[in-house]
Protein backbone atom coordinates (compact mmCIF):
# COMPACT_ATOMS: atom_id res chain seq x y z
CA UNK A 1 0.00 0.00 0.00
CA UNK A 2 1.33 3.40 -0.99
CA UNK A 3 0.63 6.35 1.27
CA UNK A 4 0.16 9.89 -0.01
CA UNK A 5 -0.47 12.63 2.55
CA UNK A 6 -2.02 15.73 1.07
CA UNK A 7 -1.79 18.71 3.39
CA UNK A 8 -2.42 22.41 2.93
CA UNK A 9 -4.42 25.26 4.39
CA UNK A 10 -8.25 25.13 4.21
CA UNK A 11 -9.59 25.90 0.75
CA UNK A 12 -6.19 25.67 -0.91
CA UNK A 13 -7.45 23.13 -3.45
CA UNK A 14 -6.49 19.81 -1.85
CA UNK A 15 -9.67 17.96 -2.82
CA UNK A 16 -9.71 19.36 -6.36
CA UNK A 17 -6.10 18.32 -7.02
CA UNK A 18 -6.57 14.96 -5.31
CA UNK A 19 -9.60 14.17 -7.45
CA UNK A 20 -7.77 14.91 -10.70
CA UNK A 21 -4.79 12.81 -9.62
CA UNK A 22 -7.09 9.95 -8.51
CA UNK A 23 -8.80 9.97 -11.89
CA UNK A 24 -5.43 9.71 -13.66
CA UNK A 25 -4.31 6.94 -11.31
CA UNK A 26 -7.46 4.95 -12.04
CA UNK A 27 -6.93 5.47 -15.75
CA UNK A 28 -3.57 3.75 -15.52
CA UNK A 29 -4.88 0.77 -13.56
CA UNK A 30 -4.20 1.89 -9.95
CA UNK A 31 -6.81 1.48 -7.23
CA UNK A 32 -6.85 4.65 -5.11
CA UNK A 33 -8.84 5.10 -1.89
CA UNK A 34 -9.25 8.35 0.04
CA UNK A 35 -9.44 9.23 3.72
CA UNK A 36 -10.36 12.83 4.50
CA UNK A 37 -9.56 14.02 8.00
CA UNK A 38 -11.30 17.15 9.17
CA UNK A 39 -12.24 18.73 12.49
CA UNK A 40 -15.96 19.28 12.58
CA UNK A 41 -17.58 18.99 9.21
CA UNK A 42 -16.78 18.28 5.58
CA UNK A 43 -18.56 17.40 2.38
CA UNK A 44 -15.40 16.32 0.62
CA UNK A 45 -16.56 12.68 0.81
CA UNK A 46 -19.59 13.51 -1.35
CA UNK A 47 -17.40 15.21 -3.97
CA UNK A 48 -14.81 12.45 -4.00
CA UNK A 49 -17.54 9.80 -3.92
CA UNK A 50 -18.61 10.96 -7.37
CA UNK A 51 -15.43 9.37 -8.71
CA UNK A 52 -16.76 6.00 -7.58
CA UNK A 53 -13.70 5.21 -5.46
CA UNK A 54 -13.75 4.23 -1.75
CA UNK A 55 -13.78 7.28 0.51
CA UNK A 56 -13.92 7.63 4.27
CA UNK A 57 -14.26 10.70 6.48
CA UNK A 58 -12.68 10.83 9.92
CA UNK A 59 -13.54 13.79 12.16
CA UNK A 60 -11.04 14.65 14.86
CA UNK A 61 -13.54 16.77 16.82
CA UNK A 62 -11.79 18.15 19.93
CA UNK A 63 -8.39 16.81 18.99
CA UNK A 64 -5.80 18.52 16.78
CA UNK A 65 -6.61 17.03 13.35
CA UNK A 66 -2.95 16.55 12.49
CA UNK A 67 -2.28 14.69 15.73
CA UNK A 68 -5.40 12.67 15.00
CA UNK A 69 -4.10 11.73 11.53
CA UNK A 70 -0.76 10.70 12.97
CA UNK A 71 -2.35 8.44 15.61
CA UNK A 72 -4.53 6.81 12.99
CA UNK A 73 -2.14 6.11 10.12
CA UNK A 74 -2.19 2.35 10.68
CA UNK A 75 -5.98 2.23 10.91
CA UNK A 76 -6.27 4.20 7.70
CA UNK A 77 -3.91 1.87 5.87
CA UNK A 78 -5.82 -1.12 7.25
CA UNK A 79 -9.11 0.34 5.99
CA UNK A 80 -7.65 1.02 2.53
CA UNK A 81 -6.39 -2.56 2.35
CA UNK A 82 -9.93 -3.80 3.07
CA UNK A 83 -11.17 -1.68 0.17
CA UNK A 84 -8.73 -3.55 -2.07
CA UNK A 85 -6.89 -0.27 -2.80
CA UNK A 86 -3.20 0.01 -3.62
CA UNK A 87 -2.81 3.73 -2.94
CA UNK A 88 -4.17 5.59 0.07
CA UNK A 89 -4.64 9.30 -0.48
CA UNK A 90 -5.00 11.02 2.89
CA UNK A 91 -6.33 14.57 2.78
CA UNK A 92 -5.69 16.44 6.02
CA UNK A 93 -7.69 19.28 7.54
CA UNK A 94 -4.71 21.57 7.23
CA UNK A 95 -5.30 24.01 10.06
CA UNK A 96 -2.15 23.93 12.09
CA UNK A 97 0.90 25.43 10.41
CA UNK A 98 3.15 24.10 13.11
CA UNK A 99 2.30 20.43 12.62
CA UNK A 100 3.38 18.48 9.57
CA UNK A 101 1.59 15.14 9.53
CA UNK A 102 4.04 13.47 7.13
CA UNK A 103 5.52 10.07 8.01
CA UNK A 104 8.90 9.35 6.44
CA UNK A 105 7.77 6.63 4.01
CA UNK A 106 4.96 8.49 2.31
CA UNK A 107 4.68 10.99 -0.48
CA UNK A 108 4.26 14.30 1.32
CA UNK A 109 2.27 16.72 -0.79
CA UNK A 110 1.73 20.31 0.28
CA UNK A 111 -1.01 22.14 -1.63
CA UNK A 112 -0.61 25.90 -1.57
CA UNK A 113 -2.77 28.61 -3.09
CA UNK A 114 -0.79 31.28 -4.99
CA UNK A 115 -3.44 33.92 -4.37
CA UNK A 116 -2.38 34.05 -0.74
CA UNK A 117 0.59 36.21 -1.73
CA UNK A 118 4.34 35.88 -2.20
CA UNK A 119 5.17 35.73 1.51
CA UNK A 120 3.01 32.69 2.21
CA UNK A 121 5.67 30.09 1.36
CA UNK A 122 7.82 31.56 4.12
CA UNK A 123 4.96 31.39 6.62
CA UNK A 124 3.64 27.85 6.34
CA UNK A 125 6.58 26.14 8.04
CA UNK A 126 7.16 22.36 8.18
CA UNK A 127 4.02 21.67 6.16
CA UNK A 128 5.96 23.06 3.21
CA UNK A 129 9.59 22.67 4.19
CA UNK A 130 9.32 18.90 4.75
CA UNK A 131 7.12 18.15 1.72
CA UNK A 132 8.34 16.14 -1.29
CA UNK A 133 5.97 17.79 -3.72
CA UNK A 134 4.55 21.29 -3.54
CA UNK A 135 1.43 21.78 -5.63
CA UNK A 136 0.65 25.41 -6.41
CA UNK A 137 -3.02 26.09 -7.20
CA UNK A 138 -5.13 28.96 -8.55
CA UNK A 139 -2.35 30.07 -10.89
CA UNK A 140 -5.12 31.10 -13.29
CA UNK A 141 -5.90 34.05 -11.02
CA UNK A 142 -2.50 35.75 -10.76
CA UNK A 143 -0.05 37.30 -13.16
CA UNK A 144 2.86 35.41 -14.65
CA UNK A 145 5.20 37.55 -12.55
CA UNK A 146 3.50 36.68 -9.29
CA UNK A 147 3.51 33.02 -10.20
CA UNK A 148 7.24 33.14 -10.84
CA UNK A 149 7.98 35.00 -7.62
CA UNK A 150 5.82 32.56 -5.69
CA UNK A 151 7.66 29.59 -7.17
CA UNK A 152 11.05 31.05 -6.19
CA UNK A 153 9.78 31.64 -2.67
CA UNK A 154 8.67 28.01 -2.45
CA UNK A 155 12.12 26.90 -3.54
CA UNK A 156 13.73 29.22 -0.98
CA UNK A 157 11.70 27.53 1.76
CA UNK A 158 12.16 23.99 0.38
CA UNK A 159 15.00 23.75 -2.17
CA UNK A 160 14.54 20.02 -2.76
CA UNK A 161 10.83 19.85 -3.49
CA UNK A 162 9.23 19.17 -6.83
CA UNK A 163 6.82 21.89 -7.81
CA UNK A 164 3.67 21.00 -9.71
CA UNK A 165 1.67 23.92 -11.06
CA UNK A 166 -1.93 22.79 -10.91
CA UNK A 167 -5.34 24.10 -11.69
CA UNK A 168 -8.09 22.57 -9.60
CA UNK A 169 -10.72 23.67 -12.10
CA UNK A 170 -9.23 22.35 -15.34
CA UNK A 171 -7.29 19.42 -13.90
CA UNK A 172 -3.90 20.67 -15.02
CA UNK A 173 -1.18 19.10 -12.89
CA UNK A 174 -3.26 16.03 -12.01
CA UNK A 175 -1.38 13.76 -14.40
CA UNK A 176 2.00 15.04 -13.16
CA UNK A 177 1.06 14.22 -9.59
CA UNK A 178 -0.28 10.81 -10.62
CA UNK A 179 3.01 10.06 -12.37
CA UNK A 180 4.97 10.88 -9.21
CA UNK A 181 2.63 8.66 -7.17
CA UNK A 182 3.10 5.79 -9.63
CA UNK A 183 6.85 5.84 -8.96
CA UNK A 184 6.37 5.80 -5.17
CA UNK A 185 7.43 2.73 -3.11
CA UNK A 186 4.93 1.24 -0.61
CA UNK A 187 4.64 2.59 2.94
CA UNK A 188 6.78 0.84 5.58
CA UNK A 189 5.79 -0.92 8.82
CA UNK A 190 7.38 1.33 11.40
CA UNK A 191 7.23 4.85 10.14
CA UNK A 192 8.56 7.94 11.85
CA UNK A 193 7.33 11.50 11.60
CA UNK A 194 9.51 13.81 9.53
CA UNK A 195 9.08 16.70 11.87
CA UNK A 196 8.40 16.93 15.57
CA UNK A 197 4.91 18.15 16.53
CA UNK A 198 4.54 21.35 18.59
CA UNK A 199 6.07 21.54 22.08
CA UNK A 200 4.73 19.06 24.60
CA UNK A 201 1.05 18.37 25.11
CA UNK A 202 -0.35 21.42 26.77
CA UNK A 203 -3.22 21.84 29.15
CA UNK A 204 -5.13 23.64 26.42
CA UNK A 205 -5.02 20.46 24.36
CA UNK A 206 -6.62 18.57 27.21
CA UNK A 207 -9.48 20.97 27.66
CA UNK A 208 -8.47 23.77 30.04
CA UNK A 209 -10.51 26.81 28.99
CA UNK A 210 -9.21 29.48 31.37
CA UNK A 211 -6.84 31.96 29.77
CA UNK A 212 -3.39 33.09 30.96
CA UNK A 213 -0.39 31.22 32.21
CA UNK A 214 -1.25 30.50 35.80
CA UNK A 215 -3.80 27.90 34.70
CA UNK A 216 -1.48 26.04 32.39
CA UNK A 217 1.18 23.37 32.82
CA UNK A 218 3.85 21.94 30.60
CA UNK A 219 6.56 23.65 28.57
CA UNK A 220 5.39 27.23 28.16
CA UNK A 221 6.94 29.92 26.02
CA UNK A 222 6.68 33.58 27.03
CA UNK A 223 6.24 36.51 24.65
CA UNK A 224 9.90 37.37 24.96
CA UNK A 225 10.89 33.86 23.90
CA UNK A 226 11.74 32.64 27.44
CA UNK A 227 10.78 29.02 27.98
CA UNK A 228 9.92 27.39 31.27
CA UNK A 229 8.53 24.15 32.55
CA UNK A 230 5.63 24.47 34.90
CA UNK A 231 4.26 21.45 36.71
CA UNK A 232 5.40 18.56 38.80
Amino acid sequence: MKLVVIAGTPGSGKTSVLMHAARCLEGSGSRPAVVKVDCLWTEDDKRIGRLGIPVHVALSRDMCPDHFSIYNVDEMLEWAKKQDADVLLNETAGLCLRCAPYPDHCLAVCVIDVTTGPNTPLKVGPLLTTADVVVTTKCDLVSQAEREVFRERVLEANPHCRIVEANGLTGKGGSDLAEIIRALPPAAENMMLRHNPPLAVCTLCSGELRVSKRYHRGVLRHMDGFMEYSGE
Binding site: P118, L141, E148, V149, I163, K172
Partner: protein, 253 residues
Protein backbone atom coordinates in the same frame (compact mmCIF):
# COMPACT_ATOMS: atom_id res chain seq x y z
CA UNK B 1 11.95 28.28 -32.41
CA UNK B 2 9.21 26.29 -34.07
CA UNK B 3 6.17 25.09 -32.21
CA UNK B 4 4.22 22.18 -33.68
CA UNK B 5 0.76 20.98 -32.68
CA UNK B 6 -0.17 17.46 -33.76
CA UNK B 7 -3.92 16.94 -33.82
CA UNK B 8 -5.77 14.83 -31.27
CA UNK B 9 -9.45 14.18 -30.81
CA UNK B 10 -12.48 16.36 -30.10
CA UNK B 11 -15.24 15.94 -27.50
CA UNK B 12 -16.92 13.19 -29.57
CA UNK B 13 -13.66 11.33 -30.07
CA UNK B 14 -13.33 12.42 -33.74
CA UNK B 15 -9.87 13.40 -34.98
CA UNK B 16 -8.95 17.10 -35.26
CA UNK B 17 -9.43 18.15 -38.89
CA UNK B 18 -6.10 19.98 -38.66
CA UNK B 19 -3.50 17.26 -38.35
CA UNK B 20 -0.40 19.44 -38.05
CA UNK B 21 0.10 23.10 -37.27
CA UNK B 22 3.53 24.76 -37.24
CA UNK B 23 4.09 28.19 -35.63
CA UNK B 24 7.43 29.99 -35.97
CA UNK B 25 9.11 32.70 -33.85
CA UNK B 26 7.72 36.18 -34.44
CA UNK B 27 4.34 34.86 -35.55
CA UNK B 28 0.99 35.78 -34.02
CA UNK B 29 -1.66 33.09 -34.34
CA UNK B 30 -5.27 33.47 -33.23
CA UNK B 31 -7.73 30.97 -31.84
CA UNK B 32 -11.42 31.69 -32.48
CA UNK B 33 -14.69 29.88 -31.85
CA UNK B 34 -17.81 30.08 -29.69
CA UNK B 35 -17.86 29.52 -25.92
CA UNK B 36 -17.21 25.88 -25.12
CA UNK B 37 -15.58 25.18 -28.49
CA UNK B 38 -12.28 24.19 -26.89
CA UNK B 39 -10.18 27.37 -27.19
CA UNK B 40 -8.96 27.26 -23.61
CA UNK B 41 -8.27 23.53 -23.89
CA UNK B 42 -5.98 24.21 -26.83
CA UNK B 43 -4.18 26.98 -24.91
CA UNK B 44 -3.84 24.62 -21.96
CA UNK B 45 -2.40 21.88 -24.23
CA UNK B 46 0.23 24.36 -25.39
CA UNK B 47 0.97 25.50 -21.84
CA UNK B 48 1.49 21.93 -20.66
CA UNK B 49 3.31 20.76 -23.80
CA UNK B 50 0.72 18.01 -24.02
CA UNK B 51 2.17 14.64 -25.01
CA UNK B 52 -1.03 12.82 -25.90
CA UNK B 53 -1.67 12.75 -22.13
CA UNK B 54 -4.40 15.39 -21.91
CA UNK B 55 -8.09 14.98 -22.67
CA UNK B 56 -7.55 16.14 -26.26
CA UNK B 57 -4.73 13.64 -26.92
CA UNK B 58 -2.82 16.35 -28.79
CA UNK B 59 0.95 16.48 -28.92
CA UNK B 60 3.04 19.64 -28.81
CA UNK B 61 6.63 19.69 -30.11
CA UNK B 62 9.43 22.25 -29.86
CA UNK B 63 11.66 22.29 -32.94
CA UNK B 64 10.19 18.97 -33.98
CA UNK B 65 10.97 17.22 -30.70
CA UNK B 66 8.90 16.51 -27.58
CA UNK B 67 10.43 18.69 -24.82
CA UNK B 68 12.36 16.85 -22.07
CA UNK B 69 10.24 15.57 -19.20
CA UNK B 70 12.31 17.86 -16.96
CA UNK B 71 11.43 20.94 -18.98
CA UNK B 72 7.77 20.00 -18.79
CA UNK B 73 7.90 19.40 -15.05
CA UNK B 74 10.03 22.39 -14.07
CA UNK B 75 8.07 25.62 -14.45
CA UNK B 76 11.37 27.50 -14.21
CA UNK B 77 12.56 25.97 -17.45
CA UNK B 78 9.29 26.04 -19.32
CA UNK B 79 9.55 28.59 -22.13
CA UNK B 80 5.96 29.78 -21.71
CA UNK B 81 4.34 32.88 -20.25
CA UNK B 82 0.60 33.35 -19.93
CA UNK B 83 -1.70 36.32 -19.76
CA UNK B 84 -5.43 36.12 -19.21
CA UNK B 85 -8.48 38.19 -18.51
CA UNK B 86 -9.04 36.95 -14.96
CA UNK B 87 -5.48 37.46 -13.72
CA UNK B 88 -4.87 40.10 -11.09
CA UNK B 89 -2.00 41.38 -9.02
CA UNK B 90 -2.66 40.30 -5.47
CA UNK B 91 0.62 41.13 -3.73
CA UNK B 92 0.29 44.12 -1.46
CA UNK B 93 3.43 46.05 -2.42
CA UNK B 94 4.56 48.88 -4.60
CA UNK B 95 5.09 48.40 -8.31
CA UNK B 96 8.84 48.94 -8.03
CA UNK B 97 9.31 46.63 -5.02
CA UNK B 98 7.39 43.92 -6.79
CA UNK B 99 9.26 44.26 -10.06
CA UNK B 100 12.56 44.20 -8.15
CA UNK B 101 11.43 40.98 -6.50
CA UNK B 102 10.46 39.47 -9.83
CA UNK B 103 13.72 40.52 -11.51
CA UNK B 104 15.68 39.02 -8.63
CA UNK B 105 13.76 35.73 -8.76
CA UNK B 106 14.55 35.52 -12.47
CA UNK B 107 18.20 36.37 -11.89
CA UNK B 108 17.83 39.63 -13.83
CA UNK B 109 19.20 43.07 -13.06
CA UNK B 110 17.06 45.41 -11.04
CA UNK B 111 17.64 48.29 -13.46
CA UNK B 112 15.04 46.67 -15.71
CA UNK B 113 12.33 48.10 -13.47
CA UNK B 114 12.29 51.52 -15.13
CA UNK B 115 12.21 49.86 -18.53
CA UNK B 116 9.16 47.76 -17.61
CA UNK B 117 7.27 50.76 -16.24
CA UNK B 118 8.11 52.94 -19.27
CA UNK B 119 6.97 50.21 -21.63
CA UNK B 120 3.78 49.62 -19.63
CA UNK B 121 3.02 53.32 -19.85
CA UNK B 122 3.08 53.17 -23.64
CA UNK B 123 0.21 50.68 -23.37
CA UNK B 124 -2.10 52.48 -20.98
CA UNK B 125 -3.60 55.96 -20.87
CA UNK B 126 -3.36 56.09 -17.08
CA UNK B 127 0.31 56.43 -16.13
CA UNK B 128 1.74 53.91 -13.67
CA UNK B 129 4.16 55.21 -11.02
CA UNK B 130 6.83 53.08 -9.35
CA UNK B 131 5.31 53.98 -5.97
CA UNK B 132 1.78 52.90 -6.87
CA UNK B 133 0.43 49.91 -5.01
CA UNK B 134 -0.12 46.88 -7.23
CA UNK B 135 -3.53 46.14 -5.79
CA UNK B 136 -4.70 49.70 -6.50
CA UNK B 137 -3.93 49.55 -10.23
CA UNK B 138 -6.89 49.64 -12.63
CA UNK B 139 -7.59 46.66 -14.87
CA UNK B 140 -5.94 48.44 -17.81
CA UNK B 141 -2.85 49.40 -15.80
CA UNK B 142 -2.51 45.85 -14.46
CA UNK B 143 -2.74 44.30 -17.91
CA UNK B 144 -0.25 46.84 -19.30
CA UNK B 145 2.21 46.08 -16.51
CA UNK B 146 1.77 42.31 -16.90
CA UNK B 147 2.41 42.61 -20.64
CA UNK B 148 5.53 44.76 -20.23
CA UNK B 149 6.78 42.46 -17.48
CA UNK B 150 6.37 39.41 -19.74
CA UNK B 151 8.20 41.21 -22.55
CA UNK B 152 11.12 42.37 -20.42
CA UNK B 153 11.60 40.23 -17.30
CA UNK B 154 9.97 36.84 -17.95
CA UNK B 155 11.19 36.95 -21.51
CA UNK B 156 9.68 33.56 -22.44
CA UNK B 157 9.83 32.74 -26.16
CA UNK B 158 6.19 31.59 -26.17
CA UNK B 159 3.36 33.82 -24.95
CA UNK B 160 -0.21 32.57 -24.56
CA UNK B 161 -2.98 35.12 -24.26
CA UNK B 162 -6.49 34.17 -23.23
CA UNK B 163 -8.86 37.03 -24.12
CA UNK B 164 -7.62 40.49 -23.21
CA UNK B 165 -10.07 42.49 -25.30
CA UNK B 166 -11.93 44.20 -22.44
CA UNK B 167 -8.82 45.00 -20.51
CA UNK B 168 -8.63 48.70 -21.42
CA UNK B 169 -5.10 48.67 -22.80
CA UNK B 170 -3.82 49.50 -26.25
CA UNK B 171 -4.16 45.90 -27.26
CA UNK B 172 -2.60 46.18 -30.71
CA UNK B 173 0.49 47.84 -29.30
CA UNK B 174 0.61 45.16 -26.62
CA UNK B 175 0.43 42.39 -29.19
CA UNK B 176 3.05 44.04 -31.41
CA UNK B 177 5.33 44.56 -28.45
CA UNK B 178 5.25 40.86 -27.57
CA UNK B 179 5.55 39.54 -31.12
CA UNK B 180 8.17 42.17 -31.96
CA UNK B 181 10.59 40.59 -29.52
CA UNK B 182 10.60 37.52 -31.77
CA UNK B 183 8.20 35.58 -29.61
CA UNK B 184 5.56 33.11 -30.66
CA UNK B 185 2.23 34.63 -29.63
CA UNK B 186 -0.96 32.60 -29.50
CA UNK B 187 -4.04 34.63 -28.70
CA UNK B 188 -7.61 33.55 -28.00
CA UNK B 189 -9.80 36.39 -29.14
CA UNK B 190 -13.13 37.51 -30.54
CA UNK B 191 -11.93 41.06 -30.97
CA UNK B 192 -11.89 41.80 -34.71
CA UNK B 193 -8.80 44.04 -34.49
CA UNK B 194 -6.77 41.40 -32.66
CA UNK B 195 -8.08 38.48 -34.70
CA UNK B 196 -7.24 40.25 -37.96
CA UNK B 197 -3.78 41.27 -36.72
CA UNK B 198 -2.78 37.62 -36.60
CA UNK B 199 -1.32 36.02 -39.68
CA UNK B 200 -3.51 32.95 -39.26
CA UNK B 201 -6.36 31.91 -37.01
CA UNK B 202 -7.41 28.46 -35.92
CA UNK B 203 -11.16 27.88 -35.88
CA UNK B 204 -12.41 25.68 -33.05
CA UNK B 205 -15.72 23.81 -33.03
CA UNK B 206 -16.88 21.33 -30.39
CA UNK B 207 -13.32 20.72 -29.26
CA UNK B 208 -12.07 20.22 -32.81
CA UNK B 209 -9.41 22.28 -34.65
CA UNK B 210 -11.59 22.47 -37.75
CA UNK B 211 -9.64 24.81 -39.99
CA UNK B 212 -6.97 27.48 -40.29
CA UNK B 213 -7.80 30.79 -41.94
CA UNK B 214 -4.96 32.75 -43.48
CA UNK B 215 -5.55 36.49 -42.97
CA UNK B 216 -6.19 37.84 -46.47
CA UNK B 217 -4.98 41.19 -47.85
CA UNK B 218 -8.52 42.40 -47.75
CA UNK B 219 -8.79 41.44 -44.09
CA UNK B 220 -5.57 43.31 -43.38
CA UNK B 221 -7.17 46.42 -44.89
CA UNK B 222 -10.22 45.90 -42.68
CA UNK B 223 -7.83 45.59 -39.76
CA UNK B 224 -6.19 48.92 -40.60
CA UNK B 225 -9.55 50.69 -40.75
CA UNK B 226 -10.58 49.09 -37.49
CA UNK B 227 -7.34 50.22 -35.88
CA UNK B 228 -8.22 53.80 -36.74
CA UNK B 229 -11.63 53.38 -35.11
CA UNK B 230 -9.94 51.87 -32.10
CA UNK B 231 -7.43 54.72 -31.70
CA UNK B 232 -10.22 57.22 -32.16
CA UNK B 233 -12.19 55.56 -29.35
CA UNK B 234 -9.14 55.53 -27.10
CA UNK B 235 -8.55 59.26 -27.71
CA UNK B 236 -12.17 60.08 -26.95
CA UNK B 237 -11.99 58.03 -23.78
CA UNK B 238 -8.82 59.82 -22.71
CA UNK B 239 -10.39 63.23 -23.41
CA UNK B 240 -13.37 62.36 -21.26
CA UNK B 241 -11.10 61.02 -18.53
CA UNK B 242 -9.22 64.33 -18.51
CA UNK B 243 -12.53 66.11 -17.90
CA UNK B 244 -12.64 67.70 -21.35
CA UNK B 245 -15.58 68.12 -23.68
CA UNK B 246 -15.74 66.39 -27.03
CA UNK B 247 -16.66 68.28 -30.19
CA UNK B 248 -18.61 67.06 -33.21
CA UNK B 249 -15.52 67.63 -35.37
CA UNK B 250 -13.48 65.29 -33.19
CA UNK B 251 -16.28 62.78 -33.15
CA UNK B 252 -16.33 62.59 -36.94
CA UNK B 253 -14.25 59.60 -37.90
Amino acid sequence: MRLTILGGVDKDGCADHIETLHIDSGEIVGIVGPTGSGKSTLISDLEQFAQRDTESRRQVLIDGQPPDAEVRADPRRKPVAQLSQNMHFLADMTVSDFLAMHAKSRGREENLIAKVIDLANTLTGEPIHPEHHLTALSGGQSRALMTADIAVISDSPIVLIDEIENAGIKKQEALKLLAGEGKIVVVVTHDPVLALMTSRRVVMKKGNMVRVIQTSEEEQKVCNSLSRVDRWLINLREAIRRGETVSAAEAAL
